[in-house]
């Protein structure tokens, strides 16, 4: 997945797959959000250059695309770290110490939320409930769920990811 992102980015243009996807969706009404999902899946965020191309392919104004991207929390305008961490700040996780996890993680990474570490390895964001509340507090790293995370265990988890 990560190498795929790197490849797509170094190409710096729309991939054939994306072009095909847009051609397929072009005529379905309301396809913009589905296309943006696909773009983000590929690049990890919505690169400015690609947003221009999407505007052209779907024939929607760029302003509308930015309106949509900035409305929805899910879409990112900047490149995330190579490893993406989501800390759940839903109610169940909040009650069970989600805030302490955030503080600890910021300490370990040396940067705050929504910031990429200088080496480009990590970025973390707070999200609202990933639907595993029974396992609170919950952390998601590169799509993998870590449940009942203790602040003490964070160092080990991050170190292990770093090694991969």
């Amino acid at each position: 997945m990560n190498t795929e992102i790197a490849k797509a980015e170094s190409a710096e243009t729309l991939t054939p797959e994306l072009i095909a996807f847009m051609a397929e969706w072009r005529h379905s009404p309301g396809s913009l959000i589905m296309v943006l999902h696909k773009v983000q899946q590929f690049y990890g965020f919505i690169p400015r250059k690609i947003a221009f191309e999407v505007a052209e392919h779907l024939d929607v104004p760029l302003a509308k695309i930015y309106g949509v991207i900035t409305f929805y929390n899910f879409f990112k305008l900047t490149k995330p770290g190579r490893n993406q961490i989501q800390i759940c700040m839903g109610t169940a996780c909040y009650l069970k110490g989600g805030e302490d996890l955030v503080a600890e993680l910021e300490g370990i990474l040396g940067v705050g939320l929504n910031t990429v570490t200088p080496d480009g390895e990590f970025s973390a964001e707070a999200v609202r409930c990933v639907g595993c509340c029974g396992l609170a507090p919950v952390l998601v790293i590169n799509g993998e769920v870590y449940g009942k995370v203790e602040t003490k265990a964070l160092h080990g988890i991050i170190a292990e990811i770093r090694k991969r």
């Binding site: 929390n73 396992l135 993998e144």
Partner: protein, 595 residues
């Protein structure tokens, strides 16, 4: 081929993330190694509900319930239980099961439950349409298409008394009749699977465990209102549910149960997925439609209601996942049967995601009318670590806090509203003595302010002001006047906001002010937070009498604010202290004091 035994492994997200996939592989390997492939089948099912102790394994027909099963345990389960018929005692949740008299239904967690919506969750493999069909799947659709007119379907639903489970509780049959009454032409059926309430995952589990039930219900709705196109609007944060739905749509289409001329009739119905993108307000129906149309998800004033003028201006019915999951059962068993379950005003069952400071967190389904006490103490096993129950919140950020004196209130729409909360979509969060009410209220407001779309001023400005007051109070700078202002803003916001988000956002404030005023007053007058949550109000010190100088606190302090020689009294430099509480937790001699 009939198998003699089945090993059911929970494949809900919680269990899967807890090594569930490796467990299935290990079990399959063991079954094969023991030459049992012809006799034993390992089935990965949907959520069994008991998420607290996942991954869960259930063995049929013996009905044995194993908890916290790790891949390493697979060999013992197969060689001991399956081959030798000896229960693996150490993995049992309830040791009574070792005498083999107690089935899963006999466990406290399941005893008071009644499963309509979750009927197939944890029973079938959600990726196999045949298993759904074997349990009467698509039979209700067949019945509707061949034996009932669209009007009959709507009549049956009205008689059943089913009300929307997305929160508002609007009678489903009535909603359908509005859309059906619109002139024929393009109409839409939309399933609301946005599940924005943080701390709730009922819809996710239903979609992951029984996706076909939703597709079937949507097709029935399409038939009843005259729509040929359906959309499931689902959160992008639920990848497993998306995958299972996509797979289910492909299978149903292959079987001719969706698509053109279903079962040879003139009725055609297609379903597509549309992904949400992390905006809570998109759960609100008009905002949801804007989002499907590819726009910013801003709500619009109603009327016109979507049933009259919805998606792309066409009549549209929007129903919640859980509402839909009830419908095939209602058609098969009849409105009469359904309306006997529940209370006077609220029929059927309700699924709750039971979370927070409770022993058995998990997914439960109970008949309407069950009391909170039964849910929290009988099913949920009471409060964690024997602590004191403080409050329960239903309805998430739109709901209210329910204090102990209402533990015996029955769950139904009217009763919950009368005590200042709402039914909501099914999040049920339990708080104990360690939770600070103003702090949790602040958490909810922070959420709604964050998620306000900003279109209307009462919500955009009112929410921000309320949040500022709560911050002030939790920081120890609140005044009595702030409380009065909060009440006033809350009432105005509730009345003047454009959509349900702003109208209900003050609920946590209003209910907590009503039932937990003493905690607010303590924060304001005494600068005290009894739960020890509001850091600005805390002061840590070390007791001269109790400190033995073990150095544990000094070693754990992340900012080196504690000094002292071994076997000497330690001291905390309060100016350097960041009030993280680690010293308090680590001290075995109750020598760290918090006030």
């Amino acid at each position: 081929m009939a198998y003699k035994q089945y090993i059911l492994v929970c494949g809900g997200t919680a269990c899967e993330s807890n090594k569930g996939i490796a467990l299935v592989e290990a079990l399959n390997r063991e079954v094969e190694n023991n030459g049992l492939l012809q006799e034993v089948q390992v089935v990965r099912t949907g959520c069994l509900g008991f998420c607290e102790k996942g991954p869960i394994v259930k063995i049929l027909p013996q009905d044995t319930f194993y908890v916290e099963v790790m891949p390493e345990d697979a060999s013992e389960i197969v060689t001991e239980h399956i081959v030798k018929g000896r229960v693996v005692e150490r993995l049992l949740y309830d040791k009574r099961q070792s005498q083999a008299h107690v089935g899963v239904d006999g466990l406290d967690f399941y005893q008071k439950q009644f499963r309509i919506v979750l009927r197939n969750c944890g029973v079938i493999d959600p990726d196999k349409i045949d298993e759904y069909i074997a349990r009467d799947g698509y039979k209700a659709m067949e019945k509707a298409l061949f034996e009932m007119s669209p009007n009959d379907v709507i009549k049956e639903l009205r008689l059943s008394g089913l009300r929307g489970r997305g929160g508002a509780g609007f009678p489903t049959g009535v909603k359908w009749s509005f859309a059906a009454a619109q002139p024929a032409g393009q109409k839409y059926m939309v399933c609301n699977a946005d599940e924005g309430d943080p701390g709730a995952y009922m819809d996710r589990s239903t979609l992951e465990g029984d996706p076909h039930s939703i597709l079937e219900a949507m097709a029935i709705a399409g038939y009843a209102i005259g729509a040929s196109q359906g959309y499931v609007y689902i959160r992008a944060e639920y990848p497993l549910a998306i995958k299972r739905l996509e797979n289910a749509i492909v299978q149903a289409t292959e079987y001719g149960l969706l698509g053109e001329k279903i079962l040879g009739t003139d009725f055609s119905f297609k379903i597509e997925l549309r992904l949400g993108a992390g905006a809570f307000v998109c759960g609100e129906e008009t905002a949801l439609l804007a989002s499907i149309e590819g726009n910013r998800g801003m709500p619009s004033p109603r009327p016109p209601f979507p049933a009259v003028k919805g998606l792309w201006g066409c009549p549209t019915v929007i129903n919640n996942v859980e509402t839909l999951a009830n419908i095939p059962v209602i058609l098969l068993k009849g409105a009469d049967w359904f309306s006997k379950i529940g209370t006077e005003t609220t029929k059927g069952t309700k699924v709750f995601a039971l979370t927070g400071k409770i022993n058995n967190s998990g997914l439960i389904e109970v008949p309407m009318g069950t009391t909170l006490r039964e849910i929290i103490f009988d099913i949920g096993g009471g409060i964690k670590d024997g602590k004191e129950f403080k409050a329960a919140q239903t309805g998430g950020p739109s709901g209210g806090m329910i204090p102990p004196q209402f533990l015996d209130a029955p769950i139904d729409y009217e009763s919950l509203t009368s005590i200042g909360s709402i039914m909501g979509s099914g999040g049920l969060i339990v708080m104990d003595e360690d939770d600070c009410i103003p702090d949790v209220t602040k958490f909810y407001l922070d959420f709604t302010v964050d998620e306000s779309c900003g279109k209307c001023a009462p919500c955009r400005i009112g929410g921000r002001k309320l949040l500022n007051y709560l911050h002030k109070i939790c920081d120890g700078a609140g005044t009595a006047e702030d409380i009065e202002n909060m009440k006033e803003i809350s009432l105005a916001m509730g009345r003047a906001s454009l959509c349900g988000l702003g109208q209900t956002a003050p609920n946590p404030i209003l209910s907590s002010l009503k039932y937990f005023m003493d905690e607010y007053i303590e924060h304001i007058d005494e600068g005290k937070c009894r739960a020890g949550k509001c850091k600005n109000l805390l002061l840590y010190s070390i007791s001269v009498d109790n400190c033995v100088g073990c150095t544990a606190c000094a070693r754990v302090c992340p900012v080196n604010a504690i000094t002292g020689e071994r076997r000497q009294l330690h001291v905390i430099d309060t100016a350097a202290c960041i009030k993280c509480g680690q010293c308090y937790d680590v001290c075995k001699f109750h020598a760290v004091l918090r006030s």
